[in-house]
């Protein structure tokens, strides 16, 4: 006979030790996967959205349920066990467990899923077992996401052009030779006539570092070349055209470089074939300095003269 007891308040259960042992049992949560896809187009849209959402839900639930060491996820046959879906689930899971504790200590440190060791996906769809490598690929993409978040979150007294260049070198080193790192310093940039960049960099505490990462596939066969360029202004006060609002958020100006270096790390880990990729970041900052560029000054950009009136627009 079923007994139902309603308690209309938030309760704290005070249990005897023997009952407490009983309470340490399995926990079950039902996760929504959206509406059942009708046709192939629906399935395609579904694949793109469900993977990340499901990964995010798994991460959030695992983090909310304290002291669990293992998690099992039962997936219905309607959710196609494709490599894309599995990769998205993995990326969604790992990237939502990012917690930046680099500048926190004591109680302020937020540790995510401390005790969780394994998450097992059990799919009713055919061929699920063969999609294991795509889970690893998703984790590698999440590594890139972690990198991008680390760069954006870092305060400016930690992340300047030199430490960003060091980060790029470490990414190249981590790739095991798949990525080559070239850093152009002030003199190299002068030789190449990079006047616009050097004009901005005159307001920088550290010397400009022009970062160029080159990825070549393991086989050496290149069918396509891709270039990814990101803004590497690590802090932008606007110079004499000073920012009148949201100055405290100007460390986020390097978001472009964060995306580029994050992508570089992910590409270096995944090592795709047939593609040569170039990752470029011109790193510097704009503060106030005696040498800073003033309105009306001329810039020599690749031996062409430009007169600049609005410094902030460079």
């Amino acid at each position: 006979m079923k007994t139902v007891l309603f308690v209309k308040k938030r309760v704290r259960l005070i249990l005897k030790p023997q009952h407490r042992k009983l309470m340490q049992t399995k926990r079950y949560v039902v996760v929504g996967l959206g509406s059942t896809p009708k046709d192939d187009d629906d399935k395609k849209d579904d694949k793109e959205n469900v993977g990340f959402s499901l990964g995010k839900a798994i991460a959030a639930t695992c983090d909310a349920e304290k002291k669990i060491t293992s998690c099992s996820v039962l997936l219905p046959a309607a959710l196609e066990a494709s490599t894309d879906t599995m990769r998205d689930i993995s990326t969604g899971f790992y990237q939502n467990l990012y917690s930046d504790n680099r500048y926190r200590n004591g109680d302020k440190e937020k540790k995510m899923v401390e005790n969780l060791k394994t998450v097992s996906l059990f799919s009713e769809a055919k061929g699920a077992e063969s999609t294991g490598p795509s889970l690893e690929e998703g984790q590698k993409i999440a590594k890139g996401v972690f990198m991008a978040k680390d760069i954006v979150n870092a305060p400016h007294n930690v992340l300047n052009s030199e430490s960003l260049a060091d980060t790029a070198k470490r990414i190249a080193k981590e790739s095991g030779g798949r990525i080559k790192c070239t850093i152009l310093d002030k003199k190299d940039c002068e030789k190449r006539g990079m006047g616009a960049y050097l004009g901005v960099a005159r307001g920088s505490e550290t010397e400009p570092q022009f970062i160029h990462l080159t990825y070549t596939p393991p086989s050496g066969k290149v069918n396509k070349k891709v270039g990814i360029i990101g803004k590497g202004l690590l802090f932008d006060t606007g110079g004499y055209n000073i920012k009148t609002q949201m100055m405290e958020l100007m460390k986020f100006d390097c978001g472009g470089s964060a995306a580029v270096l994050g992508a570089a790390r992910a590409v270096g880990e995944i090592a795709p074939e047939g593609v040569e990729a170039h990752f470029i970041v011109a790193a510097c900052e704009v503060r106030y300095a005696a040498k800073i560029f003033l309105s009306g000054m001329t810039l020599f950009v690749f031996y062409l003269v430009h007169s600049m009136t609005q410094f902030d627009a460079i």
Binding site: K2, T3, V4, R10, Y28, V29, V30, S72, S163
Partner: protein, 217 residues
């Protein structure tokens, strides 16, 4: 205290020290740097001149002023540590990275299903009807009617088997939360956690955080 000791004659000093022999804790409990420096300086005199058990004084001094020493040493050692990120003259040369999680993600066939500490059951909501001709007002009315209706939950596949094994716990939690959960129509939406108690009279327990309702079945 140190000024007093410096200016006073040796006889006066002995009197002060002798008067302190009855209050060894007073002598050693003060953690001020100036005081314990002075105190540690005249403790041997106190021990020799007044006949106090020297070993006891040394022990007391070691115990209490030792604490003061250790605190101060820790403080200084902390202060001696170079700031890891940047100095006044030199900007930071390297940025720390956040480590990747060590949690392992695996995939397998549902035939080999094993329940972990936490089990997430993925469900699809019924397919939506494509009625392009109907107005927005009509759609809203239909949605309201749907919400008012008693939900009929029909799980399929392994989810149905699991629900049966759990005595209908999954159906129950979905029914209770059908307004918020909408049978899983939003990808990534979740129901409250159901805890299953294997032995005893209690079969399953639903703790609903949103409404503060505890149900024991």
């Amino acid at each position: 205290m140190s000024t007093l000791l410096l200016l006073s004659s040796s006889t006066t000093r002995r009197r002060i020290v002798q008067s302190m022999k009855y209050y060894p804790s007073l002598l050693v409990s003060c953690s001020s740097v100036a005081f314990w420096r002075t105190a540690s300086a005249f403790v041997p005199i106190a021990a020799t001149s007044s006949g106090i058990n020297q070993a006891a004084v040394v022990a007391a001094t070691n115990t209490n002023t030792g604490r003061a020493f250790s605190t101060t040493t820790t403080l200084f050692s902390k202060m001696d540590k170079s700031f890891p990120t940047w100095s006044f003259d030199k900007p930071c040369q390297s940025m720390e990275w956040t480590d990747m999680l060590t949690t392992k993600l695996t995939v397998a066939s549902a035939d080999t299903f094993e329940a972990g500490d936490l089990v997430l059951v993925g469900v699809y909501a019924p397919a939506k009807n494509d009625d392009d001709e109907s107005n927005d007002d009509d759609k809203k009315k239909e949605e309201e009617e749907e919400e008012e209706e008693e939900p009929v939950i029909a799980l399929s596949g392994m989810a149905a088997e699991l629900d049966k094994r759990l005595g209908g716990a999954l159906t129950e939690v979905m029914t209770d939360n059908h307004k918020a959960f909408k049978h899983g129509a939003t990808a990534g939406s979740t129901t409250p956690t159901v805890r299953i108690v294997v032995d005893g009279k209690v079969r399953f327990l639903i703790l609903n955080e949103t409404f503060g309702v505890l149900k024991l079945f």
